[in-house]
């Protein structure tokens, strides 16, 4: 009888927690799984990779020499970039410009994808508020933009991918052409709302993104690079989002809409970079 009462109280407390403190329950459940998921990441990196290296020695040797060449090339590019940065800082001082707000890159391994329901296009990362991550921080890889942080707990964060139907990114075309000016639009992930277009968006089916509200008089050529415009509150300017496939006039004829293939292969994400802010905003 005592134990039945105990279970009844536990049930009532659980329901109360889910109704009145859902955000806290979400943080607690993510933190509860974090040590085990992090252990799996460690296992993949330390044990599995070494096991694969033993089994595929010949291929690993070729890959190592290719990576060494890439590292040497990137070191040269980094040295050039450092020299340019010094020159820019010197010119800013001479012209009395205010110093830019800088970001810090925080590497984060991917713990899991899609959560437990696989309804939204999201990934969970092994970095959280203890590492300086905040809601709204952009997430990128060298190829381009991945998404933005939507929820944060002490050791983990949830990232909504740009392929999610709820994602919106302020973008512009990189090199629209002479005499055209800047061509800007809003990038929509995946597709329209389910009521209008009831098709499903699966996590790894690369649905083209839609770039809407482009200037109607300019038809951009295919393969134009689409980058972030820096006008929204989240993404700094100039990050690659994807490549334009084709464009057409919208139904009302007032603007142009284009389909964009994302630059990042969302199925192959193992480690990403979070741009954590300094000074309250991202660099422009």
């Amino acid at each position: 009888m005592k134990q039945t009462k105990w279970w009844v109280w536990l049930l009532a407390a659980s329901l109360g927690m889910l109704v009145f403190w859902h955000a806290g329950a979400s943080v607690l459940s993510r933190e509860a799984l974090y040590p085990y998921e992090n252990a799996k990441v460690w296992f993949d990196r330390i044990v599995w990779v070494r096991l694969q290296a033993v089994l595929t020695r010949a291929r690993m040797a070729a890959r190592v020499s290719m990576l060494e060449r890439d590292v040497a090339r990137l070191r040269m590019a980094a040295a050039e970039a450092e020299a340019l940065e010094d020159e820019v800082a010197r010119l800013r001082t001479l012209l009395d410009f205010s110093p830019p707000v800088t970001c810090r890159w925080q590497a984060a391994p991917v713990l899991s994808r899609g959560g437990t329901a696989a309804v939204w296009q999201s990934v969970r990362l092994a970095k959280g508020s203890r590492h300086g991550v905040r809601k709204g921080d952009p997430v990128v890889v060298p190829d381009g933009v991945v998404g933005r942080v939507t929820e944060v707990s002490p050791h983990t964060c949830e990232v909504m991918l740009i392929t999610d139907p709820n994602s919106r990114v302020a973008c512009e075309l990189e090199t629209p052409g002479e005499g055209v000016g800047v061509v800007r639009g809003i990038l929509y992930g995946g597709g329209s709302s389910p009521a209008a277009d009831a098709s499903l968006h699966l996590l790894y089916v690369v649905e083209p993104l839609r770039l809407r509200y482009l200037a109607r008089d300019f038809e951009p050529p295919p393969r134009t690079r689409v980058v972030t415009s820096g006008l929204g509150p989240t993404y700094p300017k100039g990050l690659t989002v994807g490549y334009l496939l084709e464009s057409r006039l919208e139904r009302d004829g007032l603007a142009r809409e284009a389909t964009v293939m994302p630059a990042v292969d969302m199925a192959a994400l193992d480690e990403v970079f979070i741009l954590t802010r300094r000074g309250g905003q991202h660099a422009r």
Partner: protein, 179 residues
């Protein structure tokens, strides 16, 4: 107060189910997640007293919603309704066997997918060929989750001592009655 052994067993099985469901990959060939949490809730519905089974349903649903970024009470409500249905069907599903578990979980997985889509997007999201395709995948995922979940829960029950071997009323084990 003596600790009820069902509490740590429930916590352990739900934690392992949440971990497996969260870590399972979503790929083109199989674009849904196996519903291990639902399988654990169904096992509890078949083998536990009412309040323990309802608590398992609420916790399993809560974990699905919080880790899957779904609205609050979306899955706990479904699992509590599922518990009611299972109790009504108890005459058909007498024991928590593997076959019964797999079939129940397969049906529950499809129903859970429909429930979640209706809750999030309304009926317009269901009337497509894609929806039927994904429904087929959810049934397969449910079969897999049911088999794995019921095996794991049964093993945990045996190891924890919640399930004990049956003895004869006069104290002599049946294996010794022929001597």
């Amino acid at each position: 107060m003596r600790v009820d052994m069902q509490f740590p067993v429930l916590v352990f099985t739900l934690l392992m189910a949440a971990l497996m469901q969260d870590l399972s990959p979503v790929i083109d060939a199989f674009p849904v997640k196996p519903v291990f949490l639902t399988a654990v809730a169904l096992y509890a519905a078949l083998t536990r007293p009412i309040w323990v089974a309802l608590t398992a349903a609420v916790w399993a649903g809560g974990l699905t919603d919080t880790l899957g970024d779904l609205p609050p009470l979306c899955t706990p409500l479904f699992l509590m309704l599922l518990y009611g249905s299972v109790r009504l069907l108890q005459r058909v599903f007498l024991v928590a066997g593997l076959l019964q578990g797999a079939l129940l979980t397969a049906a529950a997985a499809a129903a859970q997918w429909l429930w979640t889509r209706l809750w999030l997007h309304g009926s317009a999201a269901l009337a497509t060929l894609e929806s039927l395709k994904v429904l087929g995948y959810t049934v397969q995922a449910g079969l897999l989750a049911g088999l794995t979940g019921f095996v794991f829960c049964g093993l945990t029950d045996r190891l924890s001592g919640l399930v004990k071997p049956v003895k004869e009323g006069h104290g002599i084990l049946w294996a010794e009655t022929d001597r």
